[in-house]
Amino acid sequence: MTFLHNIGLYIIMLQKMFQKPTKWKVMKELILKDTEDTVINSLGIISFVSFFIGGVITIQLALSTTGSFYPNYLVGYATRETIILEFAPTIISIIMAGKVGSFITSSIGSMRVTEQIDALEVMGINSINYLIFPKVIALLLYPFLISIAMFLGILGGMGACVYGGYSTMSDFIEGIQTDFIPFHMIYAFIKTFVFAFILATVPSFHGYYMKGGALEVGKASTTSFIWTCVTIIIFNFLITQMLLG
């Protein structure tokens, strides 16, 4: 029952997000600030994780595909497919659910418990539009972050592969270029846009509708992380089934 109630509340929240918009002059500043908080400030961690996990993926692929049975370019090819199809869009989004998601929940949640949201409402401001809409717009830049993750993941893989002596640079690059299906890129970015929307709205929902005090803000962040992950994984499955299945 509460589950259905929350789904309903979430949908109503999405509707309200587009009603009674905040003045553009103010909204512009909010979008810039949220872009910095969510996208720009994640560049470091995302680059770091992509580069090294890319390396690890490649080493493991190389180790399990040794022998003359496999073509030399296979490692590069498999690295590209793994990173573009799954690692960059999905795994990075899960990491972002922890980083950006809990940031969004705790910042909106603490505004709720300290009555800052009430203060917005009594002034006649649509607090849902004011707080959540700029985050959705800011995360439209999320595919940019994922592109960087894809690039650095493959670069890390190449580094690990060539310097670890698992294969040669030219074999790896040949692998990257083998059987490239442009639709896979489209699929990856469709996923990315959906995940961006989930990353902006699900944590906002948990922060906005929380009750209680400072302790509950912490709990809400945890719950929000779990639900953001679950939603991302479910949509990952559905989109993959629809587009590739």
Partner: protein, 253 residues
Amino acid sequence: MISVKNLKKSFDNNPILKGISCDFEKGKTSLIIGQTGSGKTVFLKCLLGLHKYEEGEIIFDNNNLESMNDLEKMTLKSNIGTVFQGSALFDSMNIEENVMFPLKMFKEMPFDEMQDRVNIVLKRVELLNSNKKMPSEASGGMQKRVAIARAIVNEPKYLFCDEPNSGLDPKTAIVIDNLINEITQEQNITTIINSHDMNSVMEIGEKIVFLKNGNLEWVGSKKDIFKTKNKAVTDFVYSSELYKKVRKMYLKS
């Protein structure tokens, strides 16, 4: 003037306000007092439109809240200033930006003019040279002053303050109470203050509304409070030895 008639509000079938009727006059500070949990905040939030109530009427200068359309409600909201219990300052903005916020959102005026207006109200609440401080760097008393400045920057007709002096030392508490009272008289505002503090009652209690368990138990002024025979009021007001003594001395003289 604000008239409230037979206001009823419950949460999950648990009645919190059980039919409250009361008038709040213009240019005057009315105090709502009562124990923690007696429904003071819920009452204010009904007036503010943050809670939906089941029954009753709330009338702002002959305009019934129920029969207002969205535009009229917006106009009403722009005429209300609110000071929340914990100040509710936006912690991502500095003091000046907090006070400027309502102007930025609702007024089409050049930045310099907004700046001037902000400085005027900050001066009025006696808060100078702190424009660029963040709320977290300000003391409790300063935060309250900022909250008051933000509430009056748009020159409201109505001012609602939820326990404006809670968490302050007694001296600062009285200063804040008096500040609100003076501004109310200067600008002819209809002001309602929630409080559980006897010092406020003695200081600015021209009109006192006593709530108990969601009922309006007693209405009067600070002079009446010494004479009243109402047991609920005397139990609440004279819970400390000091006030018992004060009452004895007052009645003797």
